[in-house]
């Protein structure tokens, strides 16, 4: 367990149970409490029940691109949280624009091993926390 993520709570939202499980395992190894949701309704319920420090949201949940507005809601609900989106492919122009306009801080490609994604997430979150807030 690393000190930097001790007692941090993460929300994982993805329609693929395998991806959710791998990310949950990797986050738990880093000392985080990981709450998982497979769809929009469960994610919204989790938002009302917990405070989150990180969130990883699949770009496509039930419909193509419906993860982006959820990520935007998470940024509004938890302004200090680090919110990222997991996309199937390298970010394209539209994805990058959605990320900026929904306040998403990073896009990760979901083919990468879960441990790598979690390491990037924790490093990126630390860097983001050091930046001045708007």
């Amino acid at each position: 367990m690393t000190q930097r993520s001790a007692e941090k709570r993460a929300l994982l939202v993805h329609s693929d149970i395998g991806i959710l499980t791998n990310l949950q395992t990797a986050l738990t190894r880093e000392g985080c409490i990981a709450i998982v949701a497979r769809d929009l309704a469960s994610a919204l319920l989790a938002i009302t029940q917990h405070q989150f420090h990180f969130a990883i949201v699949g770009a496509d949940l039930g419909e193509p691109g419906d993860g982006w507005p959820l990520a935007g809601v998470l940024r509004l609900a938890f302004p200090k949280a680090f919110v990222c989106v997991l996309d199937r492919h390298e970010p394209r122009l539209e994805g990058l624009r959605s990320a900026i306009n929904y306040g998403v801080q990073q896009i990760y490609v979901q083919g990468r091993p879960a441990e790598e994604i979690v390491t990037s997430l924790l490093n990126d979150a630390q860097r983001a926390a050091a930046k001045p807030e708007s």
């Binding site: 302004p79 970010p91 122009l93 990058l96 624009r97 306009n101 896009i107 983001a128 807030e133 708007s134």
Partner: protein, 134 residues
């Protein structure tokens, strides 16, 4: 009278196209914003040093390609950094990635869709004022 009415949000609008600058200034002033304008990156830099702003709206490509990101970079150095909106007619993967990494708050494509830009701008600057007053 609300705090925003007593002390209107102060914006810096940067664009080398005078027609865009004048039109957006008029629209934003009608929305209740106080607006300063700059026609170049150099003018914008001087205004940033001389005054404080709740938000910066800058064109991306002016005297040089992507020079709007220099204005954004300068604004990001302030401890209470302003909201940063980038306007562009020529978004690319490279400049969009840079904008995401820098933490640009909103990216709007030209011609600007005011029905999207204005609510987003208002939400972002209101949130900034709230977070500063807390």
């Amino acid at each position: 009278m609300s705090p925003a009415e007593e002390n209107p949000f102060h914006l810096l609008l940067v664009d080398d196209e005078i027609s865009v600058l004048q039109t957006l200034k008029m629209v934003l002033e009608n929305e209740g914003y106080r607006v300063a304008t700059a026609e170049s990156c150099a003018q914008a830099m001087a205004l940033l040093q001389a005054d404080s702003f709740d938000g910066i709206i800058t064109d991306l490509n002016m005297e040089k390609e992507d020079i709007g990101l220099e204005v954004a970079r300068a604004a990001l150095q302030f401890e209470k950094r302003p909201v940063i909106v980038v306007l562009t007619g020529f978004a690319s993967i490279v400049n969009s990635r840079q904008a995401l990494a820098m933490g640009i708050d909103y990216m709007a494509h030209k011609p600007v869709e005011l029905n999207d830009l204005l609510p987003a701008l208002n939400r972002l600057v209101s949130r900034r004022r709230e977070s500063i007053s807390q």
